[in-house]
Symmetry: C2
Subunit: 454 residues, 2 copies
């Protein structure tokens, strides 16, 4: 596919940039019109790439884009999944360029060419590889499979509306494999294929002390401060061994066998490099597990956001009425988001001291899942990537979550296959998200070859 | 003074409102021009009230207003202290009216007339009483004392520039008593005079984990989250008995005698009313002390603000790079802000785990102080207030801090006298700050009578 990429590169950039410029932030309701704009633009790109049919479908939330190309009704069907929504760009002050104006420039550290923009990798950049691999195969007369595309606009908020839409459109979505590029590989030197992802539960906790903000001099020391109380509660959620204290939290966690752990340990990992990349002196996590295991096969709890009281410039004193935290738990296969959400809410209410009130707002969660590496699809992907990278990819476990894939696996009865081409350097979800051109193109080639070997 | 108030009421409102409309927020550097506007307006009001001289004086920070009236060089001199700066109005969404547009309206709960505005009580409303009591005495030919006025613009940020200015202007400020209305009385039925205030130390703590915001799926469980770590650190600062764990924190705290405690316990206190006013089920504080003691004679630690990660709408996942907290400690007499600031910073650095970095930003603090209730000034104030309220005031200990008063006491060798007419209902430092008209006028009368008995 290399020559095709070379010839069409400029057009590829124009097309991808037109998607990246749309601030399709699903977490912010005011961006609703952008979700539609983005869905419409994707539909155009699908048609231009050669889809027989493509359209925007309403759901209870943001629209779904669906398109398809039927080559041979008796051939296998690949269902490509991607999402066109992106994470909020905040904190804005840490971006070197406009988060929604794509820029082609050199990585300041390595000098490599990359596209800088929110969504450059996650997932507009990665889903775009599928459009172009498809276009290439079709135009060159090499497409032997039927292809379906489903692009959703709620992945970053846990895909609340998609399961119902998938359920209602089972026939439309019939396929043999769900092909997804929305994950990261270990490194360019160590290409990897995700064979499992974590699920997630997410809740917002509000602690209310007094019914109004108070003068911290008049009341300080006599009335519980909800920020201090929230800190106490959060602090108690993880014990000194790094284990989560929510009762029942680990009940459904499957302990991996020695062999499975040894197999995962094949993925190379350089602790010094890891710490240097993050500029930390020490890692921290659950006792008895390695860093890769802590993100790959063990659940965790993180405060994703906290706020309360006066957060402006200067030294305002206040004993505030409320304090808030957004708390996520990454789950491993066999734990369910519903159960963990329930357990967490019960626990956080149980540990709330009598001098505060607690409110909990649940977000849609998702379950983790595993993919058998013995499958034909996995083997085809492995072969394709080995050819492009010159190295056989290792199986890995991704720490992230794509809530909808476990649902689709369950509803449609099809296994997903995660051919992800992101790298840690891309800093998705963070300021200055970017995607290396080399990976964008290697991804297209790998995907095109996957169709050849599948 | 009642008839004088009745005749001039309308003009009083106009004058006070002209001060209240100026958003003189000392914590926000962008309000610098407002500080000058407010100082100029105060100077005009001083001159109109009858001061011989009044002017705006530069300091290293916001300007000081100084004015004086010499009646008889051999008579005693009263130095009136007040501050024209105010707290930031945030959170704005909790105000029922514009925080800087004074409104005369009824208290929604009690139906009493009050002025609603930031600064209505603290301290523009309270300092205004002194201007008008002075004007009244002068115009009616009743002023027997020399009067000096010092109004500063940095009280709410700990008066960083005033000590140097006071030191440099010792002669100008020579007086027999520092008269201050910037505190709260127990209730209208229980008028009280503050005989001591707490000091304050204030620091901002920043905890940094990884050098960039991270994807909480890829790193969660393996890299310490600075929000969780900050919560752990904060949680460890107060033990289960409500005592602050900073080593050396209590070293200089003077334990009060049984008699002193019994004397303070004379102030009436209704726990059920207190809890109902705040809508809390239980109070919380240091073991072994009553609620009034916890705010009056014991130090405390409060988080005044906390922030980190994603705090917008929705469920963004992130393992953030940094987390921040603003922490205040109210101190009792004999503790010094400098020493406690030093101890706190040392401690917070000592308890920081190796997987984070900690930065500490110190704010200007202030010491607590005591006022002898046996003094002539205290007795004159007591007599004046007893006459106006029909009840003899009780001595009380205020939990708040006026950093500069301990400095002025030390530099000038004069004791302050705290005739405060605020009520808890005024919710100073909070949204919908207000000041009851009854207290505004009773304050003016009490102050005028103070001059008579002093």
């Amino acid at each position: 596919m290399k020559p095709y990429i070379e010839t069409n590169k400029r057009r590829f950039f124009e097309e991808l940039f037109s998607l990246l410029r749309i601030p399709s932030i699903s977490a912010k309701p005011e961006h609703k019109p952008d979700m539609y704009r983005c869905a419409e633009r994707l539909t155009e790109l699908l048609k231009e790439a050669g889809a027989d049919e493509a359209g925007v479908f309403e759901t209870a939330g943001n629209p779904v884009v669906f398109g398809k190309k039927t080559v041979d009704p008796s051939a296998k069907t690949v269902l490509v999944y991607g999402h066109y929504d992106v994470q909020p760009p905040e904190p804005l002050e840490k971006w070197r360029t406009d988060p929604f104006e794509p820029v082609l420039s050199k990585d300041p550290q390595t000098g490599e060419d990359a596209i800088y923009c929110r969504g450059a990798n996650d997932d507009k950049g990665q889903l775009f590889m599928h459009l172009k691999a498809f276009e290439y195969l079709l135009r060159e007369g090499k497409l032997k499979h039927n292809v379906k595309f489903i692009f959703e606009g709620e992945e970053e908020i846990g895909s609340p509306s998609l399961p119902a839409w998938v359920e209602a459109n089972k026939d439309l979505l019939k396929a043999d494999v769900i092909l997804v590029s929305d994950t990261t590989m270990i490194s360019e030197k160590v290409p990897s294929i995700n064979c499992g992802m974590r699920g997630m539960a997410y809740l917002e906790v509000t602690v209310t002390g007094p019914n109004k903000d108070l003068h911290s001099g008049h009341y300080g020391g006599a009335v519980a401060n909800p920020i201090n109380t929230l800190c106490d509660m959060i602090s108690s959620l993880i014990d000194k061994d790094g284990r989560i204290t929510v009762p029942g939290f680990y009940d459904d966690v499957v302990e991996l066998s020695k062999e499975d752990r040894a197999n995962l340990a094949r993925a190379p990992f350089d602790m010094e490099e890891y710490k240097a990349f993050l500029d930390i002196k020490e890692v921290k996590g659950e006792k008895g597990y390695t860093t890769l295991e802590r993100t790959g096969i063990r659940p965790c709890l993180d405060v994703c956001g906290i706020w309360g009281g006066y957060t402006g410039v200067g030294s305002k004193t206040v004993l505030p009425s409320t304090a808030h935290a957004k708390i996520s738990m990454r789950l491993v296969p066999n734990q369910t988001a519903d159960k963990i959400t329930e357990l967490f809410e019960r626990h956080i209410r149980a540990i709330a001291p009598p001098y505060v009130k607690v409110e909990v707002q649940r977000s849609k969660g998702g379950n983790g899942f595993l993919i058998p590496i013995t499958s034909h699809a996995y083997q085809a992907a492995s072969k394709a990537m080995a050819e492009v990278y010159g190295i056989e990819p290792v199986p890995s476990r991704g720490g992230g979550s794509i809530a909808i894939l476990a649902d689709m696996q369950r509803i449609l009865g099809i296994d997903p296959l995660l051919m992800g081409f992101g790298l840690e350097r891309d800093t998705i979800h963070s300021p200055n998200e970017s995607y290396l051109l080399r990976q964008l193109f290697a991804g297209m080639e790998s995907i095109a070859l996957f169709y050849q070997y599948y």
